[in-house]
């Protein structure tokens, strides 16, 4: 080691949550004035490592050194006092309070009122973080809110600043401004940890990178000297893209999407061309926050488009139709959020089955609900999918995550839908339940349904999909048969590093 000790160094950090190993012997080192990228897929262990550094979590084993001295970071307060600041991905701001009040609240009471306001303005000018101190937060854009978070962290004079996926909520212009700020901070001697998925940004901004995969450090290098391809491959690792799979009979076209574009607040979705056929599982890969929610909403009819012909379900145009009308055309939907979206937490299982069966005459005829029929359906779903529950009248919220997920997936699968659209089918579900759900989806496709699976779990998609497209920044790429993709291309598409994202040319 050089004569000057690293600002922060972790040595052999391990942290497990039950059987899940989040960090395994992680060595990580940040120097003063360094912009250090921390790379990895969802669930690679980045957040856990940062939580350990911020004092939010204690490692099972391993040591943290701060400026060469061994230390224990017992709480976020200790971390802040040491000089570690963090800007979270999701802002913890008070909407009804002004910018100054938000900042005043989170730092200790030494500076108040006008003095604080001046300090904020001074800091903001020095680092190009334009804010209006008196405005209430609810009026501000994501970029402005992030600047408040950064200012809040900077007012505590941190020597190490951690930015957790700071650009995920920013427009490209706002991101450029942020990079200027980060460079200025580094020039002033601050160490920066920059967590990101976007390799282009990392190559442009960072002078060092550590890559985590499955909780382990798999590489440290200068990102400017590495090709995007090699970094992407390092992040994703060598995946088995198996060609051995049960051959399903691909039938007629069930879902067709042409030039679908939807805008919701500052998010946009663009799907130029997407066809899904009977007997086919169509996978949509992508890193979280790239428009998966909007794609699901657009396909399910929760977000309609003005172009009626943009979506065709079983030969009928459906662009302007809502979810129930699309259900009548034979499409069924399973959203990502189990509680509150797929199922009403307070209602029992019987009522929750009714909710996605309103159009079913057997379930409700002329407004009279047939609870006996629905109860039989609950029995059927729970038996078939091994849902553990304490009776048909259990409230949905009392089921564990995995069991509820099996329930809401099963609820749609037993209808043998012509088209099934499912978002994050196994998110937060234990391994066995996840396997059951994947098998159920494959068997449904085997029976001739057309299935669209939107997932962040690349392994899952590679396992079950016939064809795969990548969603990046709201745009869906062209779809290719799974065995026509290689890991490198997938990584590039998912991190937006490819210049041929659209399928307009295809």
């Amino acid at each position: 080691m050089s004569s000057q000790p690293a600002l922060l160094q972790t040595s052999q950090i391990s942290k497990a949550f039950g059987p899940v190993v989040a960090n395994e012997n992680v060595d990580f080192e940040v120097q003063p004035s360094q912009i250090h990228a921390l790379l990895g897929e969802n669930g690679a262990g980045k957040s856990t490592l940062m939580k350990v550094i911020c004092g939010l979590q204690q490692p099972d084993s391993g040591t943290v050194y701060w400026k060469g001295e061994k230390c224990t970071i017992g709480s976020p307060k200790v971390a802040r006092a040491m000089g570690i600041g963090m800007v979270h991905q999701h802002f913890a701001l008070f909407e009804g309070l002004s910018v100054t009040e938000n900042i005043a609240f989170s730092i200790d009471g030494a500076v108040q009122g006008k003095a604080l306001e001046n300090q904020i303005i001074e800091l903001a000018e020095r680092y190009g973080l334009m804010v209006e101190p008196k405005r209430p937060v609810f009026e501000l854009s994501a970029g402005e809110r992030q600047r408040i978070e950064i200012l809040r962290a900077l007012l505590l004079n941190p020597e190490l600043l951690i930015l957790d996926e700071p650009t995920s909520v920013l427009t490209p212009q706002e991101a450029d401004q942020l990079f200027d700020t980060v460079r200025k901070l580094a020039a002033n001697g601050h160490g920066i940890v920059f967590i990101s998925h976007k390799l282009k940004e990392v190559k442009a901004l960072c002078d060092f990178a550590t890559v985590l995969r499955a909780g382990r450090v798999v590489g440290t290098f200068d990102p400017r000297e590495q090709s995007t391809e090699s970094i992407a491959e390092l992040m994703l690792g060598s995946r088995d893209i198996s060609t051995q799979r049960q051959v399903r009979h691909i039938g007629d076209r069930r879902l067709q999407v042409r030039q679908l574009s939807i805008t919701d607040h500052d998010q946009t979705l663009q799907v130029n061309n997407m066809d899904v056929h009977a007997g086919e599982i169509f996978g949509v890969a992508g890193i979280a926050g790239n428009g998966q929610e909007l794609l699901y909403a657009g396909l399910s009819g929760e977000q309609t488009t003005s172009d009626h012909n943009a979506i065709e379900i079983n030969g009928t145009y459906a662009g302007t139709l809502g979810p129930n009308e699309r259900r009548e055309l034979g499409a069924m939907f399973v959203p990502e959020e189990r509680l509150g979206h797929a199922a009403v937490p307070q209602l029992d299982l019987i009522d929750n089955v009714l909710l996605s069966n309103i159009a079913n005459k057997k379930a409700s005829n002329k407004g009279i609900v047939n609870r006996r029929y629905l109860s039989r359906k609950v029995e059927e779903i729970t038996t078939l999918f091994g849902v553990r529950h304490a009776g048909n009248k259990t409230a949905a919220r009392n089921l564990s995550g995995g069991n509820l997920q099996k329930f809401v997936v099963g609820r749609e699968i037993i209808k043998q839908p012509s088209v099934l659209i499912i978002n994050q089918p196994t998110w937060g579900v234990d391994a066995v339940s996840a396997m059951n759900i994947r098998e159920a989806l494959m068997s449904l496709a085997g029976h001739g349904s057309a299935i669209i699976v939107i997932s962040q779990d690349l392994d899952e998609l590679l396992e079950i999909s016939d064809r795969l497209a990548v969603l990046h920044h709201g745009t869906l790429s062209e779809a290719r048969a799974v065995h026509d993709w290689n890991v490198e291309q997938l990584g590039l598409a998912m991190t937006g590093s490819t210049d041929t994202p659209g399928n307009a040319a295809a």
Binding site: K77, F94, G96, L97, P136
Partner: protein, 326 residues
């Protein structure tokens, strides 16, 4: 202006002050409670308990000297002296009584995390029942024998009138300009974030609830010590109107003040106009009695069309249960 008009106006204003002051006191207390994110619908109950205990205290603190005792052991002519100190002690008793009932609310909603609305409604029912039974125990069924003498005024008005007016800028300043106020508003705005930043949400709210209870107790005491004598249900729904007043004033102390006096004037007019327009008595009365409620509804309709107004002033966590992550 002829002397009659002047007299009429001065009577009207005096009556308005009498009606507005308890509203203002109770509403200011509840405003702080709501700013911290707690919805306490038990204002009416806390006012009643404050009124009863204020009255009992006043009755006990006043000095009764017997001037004439024709039959031994039975006073036929007496003098009652109720000094300013006695009055202050009665007010403290009323505030404490209100705060004790509020503490029950705080324990149930903050410690045991019960539903604010249910506990608040229960508190009003409890307050009414408790004061009815305690009151008849203490005073007997016939209250007329129990009277509290008048107490000294300050600059021609009751002390509580000045106190309530002074409380408006003080509470505004405390909420907007001090760190304590910032903490209260932050807790009411987003209790999860406040908790994550290390603030003790339940404790902060508990203090606010106690303050609200004390203010409601004072409001009750004002009614029975200044305006009318104690009787069952003496607050006649003023606690509910105080709750409406906060919405009317969009959680701003100064607007609450304006609202309290507008309501007070409307009610006072209702009482006075009988004499001026006897022919329209019933119609006027009905209209003016309902006016505060109609006004509140109108204001709510108007402000709910302006989402910015709501976002900026209404505490976002108002009445929402807070379950700290364990």
């Amino acid at each position: 202006m002829n002397p009659e008009t002047i007299l009429f106006l001065s009577n009207l204003l005096t009556a308005a002050v009498l009606l507005a002051t308890p509203l203002l006191l109770a509403a200011l207390g509840e405003l702080v409670v709501e700013k911290s994110g707690v919805l306490n619908l038990g204002v009416e109950g806390m006012m009643l308990i404050g009124a009863l205990f204020g009255y009992i205290a006043a009755y006990n603190f006043q000095t009764i000297t017997c001037l004439e005792e024709l039959i031994p052991g039975m006073c036929t002519k007496e003098e009652r002296v109720f000094t300013f100190t006695d009055y202050l002690l009665a007010l403290v008793s009323a505030a404490l009584a209100g705060a004790v009932l509020a503490a029950l609310f705080g324990f149930l909603t903050q410690t045991l995390r019960a539903n604010h609305v249910a506990v608040g409604l229960g508190l009003t029912i409890l307050g009414a029942g408790l004061t009815n039974s305690l009151g008849s125990n203490f005073f007997g069924v016939n209250y007329t024998s129990v009277q509290v003498a008048d107490h000294p005024e300050v600059f021609g008005q009751d002390l509580l009138v000045w106190f309530s007016l002074l409380a408006v800028p003080v509470i505004w300043y405390a909420l907007q300009k001090t760190r304590m106020g910032l903490v209260i508003r932050a807790v009411g705005e987003n209790h999860d974030s406040a908790y994550a930043l290390g603030y003790r949400v339940a404790r902060i709210r508990f203090w606010c609830i106690l303050f609200g209870g004390a203010m409601a107790g004072l409001a009750g005491a004002f009614i029975v010590l200044v305006h009318v004598d104690w009787k069952e249900g003496v607050t006649v729904g003023k606690g509910w109107l105080a709750l409406a007043l906060i919405l009317f004033g969009t959680w701003k102390p100064l607007r609450v003040l304006a609202g309290a006096y507008i309501f007070g004037l409307l009610w006072a007019s209702e009482l006075r106009l009988d004499n001026l327009f006897p022919a329209y008595q019933l119609e006027w009365k009905t209209m003016l009695t309902t006016a505060p409620y109609i006004f509140t509804i109108l204001v709510l309709v108007i402000i709910s069309r302006n989402p910015r107004m709501i976002r900026q002033n209404a505490p976002a966590s108002l009445g929402k249960p807070f379950n700290p992550p364990s």
